[in-house]
Structure formats: C-alpha cells, structure tokens
C-alpha cells in the first residue's frame, strides 16, 4: 500500500501519515483528524492512501474506511460537523444503489458515483491551486514594494462648485434682501453688467479710449452693440466713467471717472 503524503501541517511540521504502531494520545488524534478540511478532503485522503481508482471507486471499501474515521472522531468526542454525517449518508446511499440490479438500458453517465467523483475531482483541483496560491510570493510576504520617503507638500485641490451652488447662494441673498425686489436681474441686465466689467477692464489698461473704439461694429450684431451702449450709459450713470467731447462733432472720449478729490495731477 502506497502512502501518499497527507497535506497537513501540525504545529508547523509536515504530517505525512499516522504512525501505525505508536500509541497516539487522544488529543494528538484530534489534531490529526481536525487537519481534514471536511468530508471531501478525508475521502481524497483515503483514496490516495489506499490507492483507489477515483474513476472506479470501490464504494464498499471507501464507505467502510470513511465510517471508521468518523467513528474515531466520535470516539474522541470531536465535535463532528454535520457535513461528515451528511457524507456518510450519501456514501451509503450510493453504495446501496450500486447493489441494485442494473437495468441494461441505464447508460454509463447514470453511474451513481458520477456526482461524487465530479465533486472529488473539483475539490482536489481547488485544493492544489490553493496550495500554489499560498506558495506564491505576495506583497508583504516575499515581495517588497518601493516606498521611499518624500516631502509631502499638500497641494490643495480647490473645492468643486457647481452652477447650482452659485444660484442657490444667489437665491439665499435675494431671500434675505427683500429690498431687492426692484433689482430683479434678467438676462439683458446680466449682459449689460458683463459689458460694464469688460469696458472697465479695457479702460484700466487703455486709460483713454475713443467712444467708437468701444464698439466692434464689424463683428458684433445690433443687440450686442445696444448692450454695449447701455453698459456705457450705466457706467456713466453710476459715475464710473466720464464721457468728454471738446467741441461739437469732434471725437468723443471715454475715460475712468476721476474723483474731484483725486487725480487732478
């Protein structure tokens, strides 16, 4: 009988087979029996140990051996998982079905052992691949990844703000400032306000601009020219710019309004 290695480690040592002629203290037996991962694992062990052909399992032998182990487990009062008992029942059932006279028309795939064999083979494949995964080098266990130090400069990512956030803020302003009812701001006025800012920016750099230069008559359509004109009027009304003309029909100049307290330089 060939002993195949039992894939079990007990307290770090490889455990290949039960010593046959030695007295085994019950707690050691317990450790040994606990090393099985379940009924499928135990069955695979028995098949290997007794060199049984997995494709033509002698059900009577296997069932007997399996039951012996389960009995041992019971004897040492190992908390026997229901899974082991369930498997006992299944083995007995397969065994008894095989005893029934086989009608000739029953095909090969109706072998009562087929499902058990499929499960044993699948489990063994998983068991072996789990062993390989366990042996693979892993980060923290065989693989060391670079993690040199660097000076963390926190580059702050500015908060994200949506248009909804902005209009919500505006809504809140309006809600509180009830005197604002005369200052409803429509699209037209927004355009005017935008142009007011544009013109102020322009006058900040150019200081002194000829009135007609503020209008791009070639590219801008009438509505935009009107908006621009309204913006100039609004700026003048708010006292933000000064419009001057030396004499009739001479060019009109626009400049930032200078306060009388300032700028007479």
């Amino acid at each position: 009988m060939i002993e195949t290695p039992l894939n079990a480690k007990i307290k770090g040592e490889e455990f290949t087979a039960l010593p046959k002629d030695l007295y085994i203290p019950p707690d050691a037996l317990e450790v040994y029996l606990e090393a099985f991962e379940g009924p499928l694992d135990l069955l695979l062990y028995l098949i290997r140990k007794h060199n049984l052909d997995i494709l033509d399992i002698p059900m009577a032998d296997l069932t007997r051996q399996y039951m012996q182990y389960v009995e041992k487990m019971r004897a040492i009062k190992l908390e026997l998982a229901g899974d082991y008992l369930l498997m006992s029942a299944m083995l007995i059932e397969i065994k008894s079905r095989m005893l029934l006279p086989k009608p000739a028309e029953i095909a090969e795939e109706d072998d009562p052992r087929a499902e058990l064999v499929r499960r044993l083979m699948e489990y063994e494949a998983i068991k072996l691949v789990a062993q390989r995964l366990d042996d693979m080098p892993k980060v923290g266990d065989g693989i060391s990844v670079a993690s040199a130090y660097y000076q963390h400069i926190s580059q702050v990512k500015p908060p994200g703000v949506t248009l909804d956030d902005l209009t919500e803020a505006w809504r809140n302003v309006l809600k509180r400032a009830s005197h604002f009812k005369h200052h409803k701001i429509g699209r037209a006025e927004l355009s005017v306000r935008e142009h007011m800012s544009i013109i102020l920016r322009r006058l900040k750099t150019d200081k002194f601009v000829e009135f007609t230069q503020l209008f791009d008559v070639v590219n801008d359509g009438i509505p935009k020219l009107v908006v621009c004109f309204l913006a100039i009027l609004e700026l003048a009304r708010e006292g933000l710019l000064r419009i001057t003309q030396q004499e009739a029909f001479s060019p009109i100049y626009v400049q930032i309004a200078l306060d009388s307290n300032h700028g007479h330089d």
Partner: protein, 182 residues
C-alpha cells in the same frame, strides 16, 4: 523646475522614477499623467516607462506592471535578506482561507453556497471576514434567487498583492487527478 521649460527625456524619466519609488501603491497611467499636469501623451508615457524599466533591468528593483498600475519592487533575489528585517512575519492563512480564496478567484462570482458546495463544508464567516479585511475579495452583487445571497469576487488589490496583471495570469488549474491516476 518649470513645466514650461523644455525638459528632456532623462528628466521626465527621473520624475517617473521619483514618483514610483515613493508610492506605496501601484500608479496607473492616469496617475502618472497627473505628474505632468496632463501635458503628456499616453504613448510618450508608455515609451518612457519602457525605457525606465530597461534602465533598471540590471539593478536592485524591477519596474513591474500589476492590475492597478506600475510599481517598483525589489528583485526576488533580495527577498530572503529583506525577510530578516521583519521577523514577525504575517501569519499564514489557514487552508480553509486559501481554498475559499482559490474558489472565489477561479469560479467568481460565487455565493457562500457555491463555496460550501465545492468544499463540502460550511464556510466559517470568519474566513470570509479575513479575506475581506485583507481586501482580497468583495461583494459584487446578489444572485437573484430567494434570499438574494451575496456574490463574491476577487479585487484588484488581490491581483496586485499576488503580482498579477489580470485573472488570466493566475496559475492554470490543472486536472491533477486525471493526470496522476492514468
């Protein structure tokens, strides 16, 4: 250093090297592009990474690509030395944990019921917890059957930790039983 300056390839590779040597996590192409504030083509980046890998080919670290990106890792030959630095190495996982992980890796997405069916024993909730805490598995959905059991799959982090770029790189699951017996 100003991005508007013309920086040569060597300098660009240095920036990549500095980033990769100091990052604890793999860096994706998108991460690496951020280093250059978007002023680099992906094709250029790939080329530079190839060169960097080549530059390090005879050195202590190797530039590898795993599921979530690129990282430098010490060559295998140093593993034994480095292991001496941390003698209290992480305890190995039990067979139950590794077999459960194998089932999830090779048969994903699976429910606990599927795992129990394959292993022939009930799954201890502790086993699932260990794998989730390690960020090797997570719940990717529910199977639409009564009870709506959770479906588990492996994570990118699992691939990273096992030095894999994708599930296709997992060791091939062989039909060992057939082979050994016939």
């Amino acid at each position: 250093m100003d991005m508007t300056e013309v920086v040569n390839a060597a300098e660009l590779k240095n920036i990549l090297e500095a980033a990769l040597l100091t990052s604890h996590e793999p860096l994706s192409l998108d991460d690496l592009l951020r280093l250059f504030a978007g002023r680099m083509e992906r094709a250029t980046l790939r080329m530079l990474l190839d060169e960097l890998k080549q530059d390090w080919s005879q050195r202590t670290m190797e530039l590898v690509q795993v599921a979530s990106g690129y990282r430098f890792q010490a060559r295998e030959e140093y593993a034994d030395y480095l292991a001496r630095l941390n003698p209290e190495r992480q305890a190995r996982y039990s067979r139950a944990v590794m077999e459960t992980l194998a089932i999830i890796a090779y048969r994903q997405p699976v429910t606990r019921g599927d795992i129990e069916e394959i292993r022939g024993v009930t799954v201890n909730p502790n086993v699932m917890r260990q794998l989730q805490e390690r960020d090797w598995i997570d719940v990717v959905g529910q199977r639409e059957v009564p009870g709506r059991p959770s479906l588990y799959a492996t994570t990118k982090h699992f691939l990273d930790d096992f030095n894999l770029r994708s599930l296709a790189d997992l060791p091939v699951m062989e039909d060992f039983v057939q082979g050994e017996i016939s």
